[in-house]
Symmetry: C2
Subunit: 199 residues, 2 copies
DNA sequence: GGCGGCATGTAAGTTGTTACATGATTAA
DNA sequence: TTAATCATGTAACAACTTACATGCCGCC
């Protein structure tokens, strides 16, 4: 009964303009990295299916698109055009499917934190083993938080031509708040282990 | 190359005492619900595999265990013993595997928030569609936070006979902090939307 | 010539869910 | 007697990852 969401990622991104599967992947990595991911093994078969369903159309061998310029701006490099590619464009049926999905309530997010499992069971081993795990966790999310802050600053710098920034900033805000919560938790845990007590 | 973590959930719980697959499921639901889940379709085949690997042993048709009393205490009901069951107990090899896993760094948690995807793309539909989604999100996590607070109060009430509560409280603290962050985000988003109604 | 980035795709494998089948016991 | 809870298990399916295969282009 689970529904594949890959198609809506594709449809949503194509709503901004035509782009290739490769570009979709790059954009998901750049913009959604903190709350989503897609692999080529999901992306390409889904693009094919969407074409077959009349949701999108394939426009072979097209030049640089708006989306390519967005990726290039983010990576600081132009598109060194390699192999010929297939650019996909949204069709009315696809736009309609996207809108239907937007109106439907989102599914519950299945959170799985292996670090919490280890924390819970840590008494079964040497509790000191948790320390490097916590420090790695802290370092990772401190880095991710810095990325989000740069992303936010960049968005605010370039202004809001089409009025879509409020939603994007709201999404970034989610990431910042949760990462800040992770970091505060992590630091409290580490501090407690060193002997001090808080919370 | 992905490693199933179901086995460590089993091993970790069996480290507290022998129990049945059914009891493991109940305990995962009761204690880990906010950061983990297991289905019978994963649990039973994994139990079988662990027996075959000599990690655990099956003790058929055993009476009430320590773990059953824990489940009964949480649900306020005794075990109305139904069909005969198989209680599993941890063997030295299983304890060793658990300890090895505890020492290894946890894998990155793959976060997937469909609501953020919808928020990001919300400009492609009617932005007002997000409001019920946000309210459902808020209601859900407010409820979950209340559960965690009760869980914490209960743990503090019963004292700490075997010294394992610090780790469990730390795990609960993670849930509380992240849920508080979710709620603060959600309420800010909702408030902002009310500020620019009919726009 | 090789490397790295661009670009598309597939095959195989793993993981995890859902639905179902079975059957015992107890309480309403 | 019927529902609920206890209890175990499997088959079919869906979702997703990984590794690989292919090949173009520009640069050093």
């Amino acid at each position: 009964m689970k529904e594949g969401k890959t198609r809506y990622v594709i449809l949503g991104l194509l709503a901004e303009g035509p782009m290739s599967g490769y570009t979709i992947k790059k954009l998901v990595e750049a913009r959604f990295r903190f709350f989503w991911s897609e692999s080529y093994g999901q992306l390409y078969p889904e693009l094919k299916a969407l074409v077959a369903e009349g949701m999108i159309e394939a426009l072979p061998k097209t030049g640089e698109t708006e989306a390519d310029r967005a990726v290039a701006a983010a990576s600081g490099r132009g598109r060194a055009r390699g192999r010929d590619r297939t650019v996909h464009a949204l069709l009315p049926a696809g736009r309609e499917a996207l809108r239907e999905w937007l109106a439907r309530p989102p599914e519950r997010e299945p959170a799985r934190f292996e670090i919490l499992l280890k924390m819970y069971f840590s008494g079964q081993g040497d509790r000191a083993w948790m320390d490097p795990h916590l420090r790695a966790f802290e370092a990772h999310y401190a880095g991710e938080l810095a990325v989000l802050r740069r992303f936010e600053a960049e968005l605010r710098r370039i202004g809001d031509p089409d009025g879509s920034h409020a939603d994007i900033l709201r999404v970034i805000d989610f990431g910042q708040r949760t990462y800040e919560a992770y970091l505060a938790w992590c630091r409290t845990a580490l501090a407690e282990r060193e002997g001090r007590t808080s919370r």
